[in-house]
C-alpha cells in the first residue's frame, strides 16, 4: 500500500499478511502513519496504490472513540447488533463482562468516563466475534486492571484462531505478541521482539 496526503508521503509500499491465530503489533513514532495504515486496512480510507483483502468478518476499534453521546450503552449494542446482523447480544455481553463493564448498560455514553468510553469502543469492535481484529491504541484510558484484562482477552481470541493487529506508539507488552513490526519511513520492518523490549 502507498498513500500520501498531498505532498506528504506516509506509506511507501507497506505489505503485510496476517495469518489466522496471530497476535501482531505495529509500533511507530507519532505521525509515522500507523493510523493511516489501519484506516486503509479497515476500509475507511482508499490507498493511492495497493489493495486490501480480508478473509472473514473483521472488527475495527478506531483510535479516537466513536460513539453517539446521546445513546446509552445498551442502545449502542442494540444498534450494532442490527448492523452486524447478530441474532443476540451474547458475545457483546461476554466482552463487557470480560472488561468489567456490565454495570454501565443503561448509562448514556456522554456521561461515561474516558476509560469506560474506550471499553464501549472496544466492545463494539468485538461484539460480532470477528475473524480479523484491527485495534488502534486500544488500551488508552484503561486502568491497570482493565489493561491486563484487555491482554488476556486478546490472547484468548488469538488462541481461538482469530487474527489480531494492535497498533500503538508504545513498544510495551511485546512479549505477548507473535509478530512485531515497526513502521518507519513509510515501510514496515519486522522486529526481534526480545531485543526490542530492551530498547
Amino acid at each position: 500500500m502507498h498513500h500520501s496526503y498531498r505532498q506528504h508521503t506516509v506509506l511507501r509500499g507497506v505489505d503485510l499478511r496476517l495469518r489466522p491465530g496471530t497476535l501482531a503489533g505495529i509500533v511507530g513514532e507519532n505521525g509515522a502513519g500507523k493510523t493511516t495504515l489501519l484506516k486503509i486496512l479497515s476500509g475507511e480510507l482508499r490507498p493511492d496504490r495497493g489493495s486490501v483483502l480480508h478473509h472473514g468478518r473483521f472488527g475495527y476499534c478506531p483510535q479516537s472513540v466513536v460513539l453517539d453521546d446521546s445513546f446509552t450503552v445498551r442502545q449502542h449494542l442494540e444498534l450494532f447488533k442490527n448492523a452486524f446482523g447478530l441474532a443476540d447480544l451474547g458475545r457483546g455481553e461476554e466482552v463487557m463482562e470480560a472488561l468489567a463493564f456490565t454495570e454501565y448498560l443503561d448509562q448514556r455514553a456522554g456521561l461515561l468516563s474516558g476509560g469506560s468510553r474506550q471499553k464501549l469502543n472496544l466492545t463494539l469492535a468485538l461484539m460480532h466475534d470477528p475473524d480479523v481484529l484491527l485495534l488502534d491504541e486500544p488500551y488508552q484510558g484503561f486502568d491497570w486492571e482493565t489493561y491486563l484484562r484487555f491482554w488476556e482477552l486478546a490472547t484468548r481470541l488469538r488462541d481461538a484462531g482469530r487474527s489480531i493487529l494492535v497498533v500503538s506508539h508504545l513498544a510495551y507488552d511485546i512479549d505477548r505478541l507473535d509478530l512485531l513490526w515497526r513502521l518507519e519511513s513509510g515501510r514496515l520492518h519486522l522486529q526481534e521482539r526480545r531485543t526490542e523490549a530492551a530498547s
Binding site: I40, S42, G43, E44, L45, R46, P47, S51, H54, R57, Y60, P62, V66, L67, D68, D69, S70, F71, Q75, E78, L79, F80, K81, N82, A83, F84, G85, L86, A87, D88, R91, E94, V95, E97, A98, A100, L124, H128, D129, D131, W144, E145, T146, Y147, L148, R149, W151, E152, L153, R156, L157, D159, A160, G161, R162, L170, Y172, D173, R176, A197
Partner: protein, 291 residues
C-alpha cells in the same frame, strides 16, 4: 421485507431519540417560535402593507404585523430544522460511518434520518401555525402549515449537506444563518423592495413564502408555490443523500460487504466462539505494561 422494515424502524427510532436529546433545539422549538411570533405581533405596527403576490398576481394588503409574523414563522422553522439537522449530522457523522462500515445499510440509515426529520418538521410547522392562529385566523391554515413544513424540510436537508461537507461547527451555523437571512429578508415586502425582483424566485424558500402568504391572507390556494418548494426540497434531499453516501462509503471491495445483514448469518459464526476470560481473572494475569 421484514428485515428491511426492522432496520428502517430501528434507525428511525434512534434518529428521533438523538433529536429529542438535543435539549437546546427542543428549547428553541418550544420557546423561540411563539416568542418570535408574539413579538412580531406586538411590536410591528398594524398598518396595511400592500404588496403584490408574484404567484397569483393578487395585490394583498395585510396588516404589517401579520405579514411579519408569517415571515418570522418561516424564518424560525427553517433555522430550527437547519440547525437541528446540521448538529445531528456534524456530531454524528463518524458514528454513522462506523455503523455503515459495520454493515448497517446506508439507504436505511439515510431514509430513517429523513423520516425523523419529516416528523420533526410536521411538529414544528403545526406548532408555528397554531402560534400564528392565536393572534388572528389565517385564511388557509392547512396550506400555511404545508408551506412551513416544506420550508423547514428544505433547510433540514441543507443542514445535512453542510453537516457533511463543512469541517467546523461554526462554519455550518454561519452558513445556515446567512442563507436564511438573505432568503427571508429579500422576500419580505416590509424590509426590501427586492421582493418584486425576479432574483427572489431562485431563493430556497421562494415557493414556501408565496404559498404561506397566499395561505395567510388570500382565499385562492397557491399550489404552484408548494410545487416550487418541493423542487427545492427534492434538490436539497438529493444533495443530502449523495454527501451522506460519499461520507459513509467503504473503500474495501464491494463484494466483501453484504447489502443486508441477516440475523444469525454473520453473528452466529461458523467457527465456535472464542471463550473469554471472566472479569475477576484479569487482575491476576502477568503483564509487562506502562508502569
Amino acid at each position: 421485507m421484514r428485515r428491511h422494515w426492522s432496520l428502517f424502524t430501528t434507525a428511525s427510532r434512534y434518529a428521533l431519540i438523538g433529536h429529542a436529546r438535543n435539549r437546546f433545539a427542543m428549547l428553541l422549538v418550544v420557546v423561540y417560535i411563539p416568542v418570535w411570533i408574539a413579538l412580531a405581533y406586538l411590536t410591528i405596527p398594524d398598518q396595511p402593507a400592500p404588496f403584490r403576490l408574484r404567484a397569483t398576481g393578487e395585490v394583498l394588503s395585510p396588516p404589517g404585523n401579520h405579514l411579519t409574523q408569517i415571515t418570522g414563522a418561516l424564518n424560525a422553522v427553517t433555522l430550527i430544522a437547519g440547525f437541528m439537522m446540521f448538529a445531528a449530522t456534524f456530531t454524528g457523522g463518524r458514528f454513522d460511518r462506523r455503523l455503515a462500515m459495520a454493515g448497517y445499510p446506508r439507504y436505511h440509515l439515510v431514509l430513517a434520518k429523513l423520516s425523523a426529520l419529516t416528523l420533526v418538521c410536521v411538529a414544528v410547522a403545526t406548532y408555528a401555525t397554531v402560534a400564528v392562529g392565536f393572534g388572528w385566523p389565517p385564511r388557509q391554515p392547512l396550506l400555511l402549515a404545508a408551506a412551513l413544513f416544506c420550508a423547514a424540510l428544505t433547510y433540514g436537508a441543507l443542514g445535512v449537506v453542510f453537516g457533511s461537507v463543512l469541517r467546523r461547527e461554526v462554519e455550518g451555523m454561519f452558513a445556515i444563518l446567512m442563507i436564511s437571512i438573505l432568503d427571508v429578508a429579500l422576500q419580505n415586502p416590509l424590509s426590501s423592495s427586492g421582493s418584486d425582483s425576479a432574483v427572489v424566485q431562485f431563493l430556497p424558500t421562494y415557493g414556501a413564502v408565496q404559498a404561506g402568504m397566499s395561505a395567510a391572507f388570500s382565499d385562492s390556494p397557491d399550489v404552484r408555490g408548494l410545487v416550487i418548494q418541493c423542487l427545492w426540497l427534492a434538490g436539497a434531499s438529493a444533495a443530502a443523500f449523495l454527501v451522506f453516501r460519499r461520507r459513509t462509503r467503504n473503500a474495501l471491495a464491494p463484494r466483501q460487504k453484504p447489502w443486508l445483514p441477516a440475523p444469525g448469518r454473520r453473528g452466529t459464526a461458523e467457527k465456535p466462539r472464542a471463550p473469554l476470560p471472566p472479569a475477576e481473572s484479569g487482575a491476576s494475569a502477568e503483564a509487562h505494561g506502562p508502569t
